[in-house]
Symmetry: C2
Subunit: 518 residues, 2 copies
């Protein structure tokens, strides 16, 4: 057993300064230095010990989620400047400790701030291995195993979407925004392949459609691709945040009457703020009728496909031409891990390839279809697959399902607990479809203000103050934002597998403790 090697030291005084073994050792003593083996092992083990102590501490509810400091303070708290001369490895270890001391503990059971929270131990191990392998996804030649695992995993994801025999294409990209932009790029190329050579001046005015609650990356993509943000038409959403199909059809017809060419509809499966799922079947009928590429932005909600209990929320996803699905969100795969899945084979290659002869030599000894680099806009591409693949092995499909179901159970618990509680108001009616629970907390002194404008004005300031206090105390972190005419409200999301019912109870108490005097 490896038990004798456990040695973690989380006492506060010893944290910044560990042993002094490295005070005279410098990077030049490490591998590839001759006889650098022993020093390298000792140095890396020392770093690992720091990391292991940090991990154990991160899961401990008694520690802070963050030891927060303002930027100008943090700049003073350590010497972060880059120097002309090398530091000792002892100084390097101190820098590692300092970096972690002031970092967010994203593994902490009470860290709810983003759609990506938590730290999976198998995923982490896989990411350490990925760093150690230090290679690039562009060719089979330099990443044989990773390229195969990407192939295996993308096929599995397409099967889960419901495409026959998992056929189709796909790629892991650096985040959902880029995956969505790739989808838009493919849609444009599919309709007007000449755009690749001749640019937008060769095509009519294109328009894209997405709901007013969709992610801002759709507009960013349109701006980048030379389509322009004004050509992204925002479709009305109902009060729960779902796109209204009738409004989509109306706006498509309107655009066509103006002589514009509708080419892309991005439906959202799991909106960022409300967690709403657009009605995919109705949207796909409209896309089919008008011959428009249907994309599903499932960056946040796509993972519900892994759950037999919740996948109905994405019914119709198999009719999409492309799907964004970020395992780094609801499946807790370490950052980053975002997939774009595409129904048509070969399109990505045709759309993006430039045949760089120094990379994709045509006379290699192996099957060139495994050289995936020319499918993407990136040349080099980070290995994002191994952490997802290894976690999938470790959990099985049913393990991911259980983890996702559990997060949804927790959010339902939160919703049930606050929906009729004194001082809480829900931002929209009805049980949330994803783990997003959106609500206002009204401090006692604000509950009976008659003047509606005055009340709104004061309520707008509540969430930012509570949030700032959460960070100063370091007890928990939740996000807030305004939306449309709705003043600042909390958006609680649960993707953290470490969270429990008690943590939800704690969150409510903490909001009330930090906000009751406002």
């Amino acid at each position: 057993s490896g038990n004798n090697r456990i040695s973690y030291n989380s006492s506060a005084s010893a944290f910044l300064h560990g042993s002094n073994y490295f005070f005279a050792v410098v990077y030049a003593d490490l591998l590839p230095a001759l006889d650098g083996d022993a020093k390298t092992m000792t140095f890396l083990q020392e770093v690992v010990d720091i990391l292991l102590a940090y991990i154990v501490e991160s899961f401990d509810r008694e520690t802070k989620v963050i030891d927060f400091h303002y930027p100008n303070e943090l700049l003073q708290l350590n010497n972060w400047e880059l120097q002309h001369e090398p530091a000792t490895l002892d100084d390097i270890l101190i820098s590692c400790r300092a970096t972690l001391k002031y970092a967010i503990k994203t593994a902490h059971p009470r860290y709810f701030n983003q759609l990506s929270t938590g730290l999976d131990m198998v995923g982490l191990a896989a990411d350490w291995l990925t760093s150690t392998a230090n290679t690039n996804m562009f060719t089979y030649e330099v990443a044989p195993v990773f390229v195969l695992l990407e192939y295996v995993t993308l096929k599995k994801m397409r099967e889960i979407i419901g495409w026959p025999e998992g056929r189709g294409d796909g790629i892991f990209s650096p985040g959902g925004a880029i995956s969505n932009m790739y989808a838009m790029l493919l849609a444009r190329f599919k309709m007007f392949p000449e755009v690749k050579e001749k640019g937008m001046s060769s095509v009519p005015r294109l328009v894209a459609f997405t709901s007013e609650h969709s992610h801002f990356s759709i507009k960013k993509g349109a701006a980048a691709l030379g389509i322009g943000t004004e050509s992204v038409i925002c479709i009305k959403a109902d009060e729960c945040g779902k796109m209204i199909p009738a409004d989509l059809e109306r706006r498509i017809l309107e655009a066509k009457q103006k002589g514009f060419v509708p080419f892309f509809v991005s439906a959202t499966a799991g909106t960022t703020v409300y967690g709403a799922f657009d009605p995919l079947i109705a949207i796909s009928d409209i896309c089919k009728k008008y011959n428009i590429w249907m994309h599903v932005d499932g960056a946040w909600g796509g993972s519900l496909l892994m759950s037999r209990r919740h996948r109905w929320k994405l019914d119709g996803v198999e009719r999409a031409n492309s799907v964004t699905w970020n395992p780094h969100k609801m499946m807790s795969v370490p950052l980053q891990c975002s997939a774009l899945l595409v129904r048509e084979e070969g399109l990505m290659q045709n759309c993006n390839q430039m045949h760089a002869c120094y990379l994709f030599q045509q006379d290699k000894q192996y099957d060139l279809s495994y050289d995936t680099g020319d499918k993407a806009l990136q040349c080099g591409r980070h290995v994002d697959i191994f952490k997802l693949w290894l976690m999938w092995r470790a959990k099985g499909t049913i393990g991911f399902e259980a983890q996702i179901d559990r997060c949804l159970e927790l959010s339902e618990y939160l919703y049930n607990k606050i929906k009729d509680r004194d001082g809480y108001e829900m931002v929209f009616d009805g049980k949330p479809q994803h783990t997003n629970v959106c609500f206002w907390y009204l401090p006692p002194g604000m509950r009976y203000i008659e003047d509606k404008d005055e009340k709104k004005k004061r309520l707008h300031k509540v969430a930012p103050v509570i949030k700032a206090r959460m960070m100063e105390y370091g007890t928990t972190m939740v996000s807030y934002q305004p939306q449309g005419d709705k003043v600042n409200f909390f958006r609680m999301v649960i993707s953290n597998p470490a969270a429990t019912f008690e943590d939800i109870d704690f969150l409510i108490e903490e909001i009330e403790r930090l906000g009751h005097d406002l």
Copy 2:
């Protein structure tokens, strides 16, 4: 001291199957499980032991660079399929060992295949820490230290470029291709800010210029941005691969006469194949004269700015509007680490921002200029800064300089050794400016063929066969490609800090050993 914790086991038989401690332990026993601490520590330590053994082995010249298998073979060599049920942690450890067994050893002193080679021990430690912190660069709130370190490091890089007091802007992006695309996006926005809202239909036909030897990402970017590959005009390069400024000016005038609007020149500092540096001063004069954005693609050559001996090759870089510089190449920072540096402050934000209110709340308690997410097309952004920053601390500026100078010295050694050697022909005359050494190897039986076409035809097949044999023996890896009318030649590049003069000698002997019978 941590010496007692060294325990690496690289014997072949023990490699795939280590201890059996984990045969009954599954992921659900690890953190966040109650009392999961000890099992988690033991599991992670077991993974680390596998990684440490792999690292030591990787630097050993007696081991293979790769244990190569064809894709269909590799698929059979292990069970890579994803299952419904969880595996044991013992199986997870076996998967880790199998993955590394068939991986490329990128740390190997004889791995020369890409512009990114080698494995830096401090960079690796930093990447392990980054994975453990598992956060996102979009806001200060969730990555306080990393955001500050990015700020500090980008400023230092701008100082090294030569911009007054390091002023300007920048971002780390997922690779040089994306950095180059960002530059093109900024150039277009600077000249026609309305393009963001109105798209390409609101602007005249734009044209970009780059040398015929430049990286294919310039064309990929133009295709994506709706400019079109035909609007990227390839400027002639001289026989050493440098852009000919007179041809640039001629083509700019030609484009203007046609009514097109030149908006972007991408000069290359270190071309991919020849390692050529375009004459930046002459190009900047032309850009200034015609009011065109000057970008320098220094993905490969930018790191020479760290060397007092070699930085003259980039003289004039301080006149550029933007510079791509990939520390993951010549500075051996683990993949990925690519910076785009921009001279004008605020432009990136204006070009890309969409003001997502759920992420970039305007009423946060801290200075919002540290929320960098809206500068990029990405929403979430991987932490690529820490490994560069920590390596810089460990080496100092002078350590990077020494490492770069050393690689250039090795390539000069190779050049001097083969330029007059029997059976070698250089692809271009003169000492290479970067570490790229491009050459043909002519097996003895091919040296006296009179028929030039026949000779070319046979020579074209030599490099692919030698390369395939290198991979089958696993002794070394070098890249080859054709270029223009030049048949397949070897492109040796040296960015691997583990390489020595003896490894260069070995490479030459190995090419001759594997190719003499052809």
